[in-house]
Subunit: 251 residues, 2 copies
């Protein structure tokens, strides 16, 4: 199994503190890591088949304050697919003139969908197959770019098909919104005014967000396990799909 | 105009020396940079809308010995499209289960092809439009994955269409081969046994490749302007398309 981290904010925010917390778990999840940062429509995509505990790319991410309003990160413990760059999450495809990014924690058994020409896996993970199939089904369901609410409705129809093959905890983003689907384990947190201090659950590291934020800032975080202590992380229930936009859960 | 750097080798090789040479030219070409490294089918893609002279991502690339057999890099001086991450080369798409990477130096006037659903630009450069159109035309021309020689023949038919809109110096790779097309300016070099020392044209930096290589190693480099002095760079002629495989020019 792997560990997921997602962030959606109403103002570009760096994720150095949260990523440092995720990277603490890389001793067990040592088969690569990846993080994707949206900046408007643009995307930075950092991956390494080395552990986030040892990778120079992870060091860069921990210390370079990249500000983004949508982030998807993953540390990998391989279940399907060898340890290789092409099997490292998150995976990226383009649809409707936007990049789409997916990271997956879980294991899909016997998931071998018919994939047409437009989206084909490069590696051999169940997770990249899931992204290709989702892109194909979204493009079949909508002739042109749908609203975020319509996308959520379509995704809500597609998630059970994937989860029917095993466990499918997922983060998906196109830069406009972050979708989180829980199959077995996923938690989320809303960080907003009044901001206080937070301490990592896995390391002796604290940050006081008060001097770093303004009262209007809102940040939603999603993670496999709560990343901090003393903040009110909420567990998602199996089968739950939640969209985050502007730093808030929708609906 | 921008500056291109491509590398194709028969053994995974780091490009720190060549990239350092390219980055010396970033004072004039300060509107972002990018570099893509293939590792087998996998791809690392580093981009920054900041200059390669100032970007922490460029610092990482200069000092982290990422070994690859196919590299495409670019430093940008914006002509079309604002300075933004989504307009930063190289651009990436997936076709036939492989990533394809393109970087462009030049300027296409009035290039507004009909693009079907499968490949759409995310940003607003002529260069990303060119990649989308190339992917579309390659997928129309071949029902399934063609040989590299067939791909070269199809690309040779498509290049004049692009170059007919202006200047199109291009590097394209799918990890199996590197294609270089010259419209106005592009040079290439074959570095092979017996290896000697090379000195950057733009900086007081030399490397003796002899102790770093084995007699069987072959590395082909392609760059807008020769990156080193004392090596026999060859100028490509306008309209020339050349494929490099296993560190050698084909044909």
């Amino acid at each position: 199994m792997c560990q997921l981290l997602g962030m959606n904010a109403n103002t570009p925010t760096d994720a150095m503190f949260s990523f440092a917390g995720l990277a603490c778990r890389a001793n067990e999840h040592k088969d690569g890591f990846g993080i994707a940062f949206f900046e408007d429509r643009g995307l930075r995509h950092f991956i390494d088949a080395r552990s986030a505990a040892a990778s120079p790319v992870a060091e860069l991410v921990k210390h370079y304050p990249i500000r983004s309003d949508c982030i998807v990160a993953h540390i990998r413990k391989a279940t399907q697919g060898r340890v290789a760059l092409e099997n490292t999450h998150p995976f990226v495809r383009e649809l409707w003139g936007r990049y789409w990014v997916l990271a997956h924690n879980g294991d899909l058994k016997g998931f071998a969908p018919r994939l047409h020409a437009a989206f084909r896996p490069v590696g051999d993970t169940d997770s990249e197959r899931a992204l290709c199939w989702l892109m194909q089904e979204l493009s079949k369901a909508h002739a042109s770019v749908p609203t975020l609410e319509e996308l959520t409705l379509t995704l809500a129809e597609l998630m059970p098909v994937l989860a029917g093959h095993g466990s499918f905890n997922m983060l998906l983003s196109n830069g406009q919104a972050l979708w989180a689907h829980a199959s077995t384990k996923l938690h989320w947190l809303l960080r907003q005014h009044p901001f206080g201090a937070a301490t990592l659950a896995d390391a002796d590291l604290s940050v006081d967000f008060a001097p770093l934020t303004t009262p209007g800032d809102r940040i939603a975080l999603v993670a496999t396990e709560p990343l901090t202590v003393g903040e009110s992380w909420q567990a998602m229930v199996p089968g739950e799909l939640r969209m985050f936009v502007g730093g808030l859960p929708a609906g």
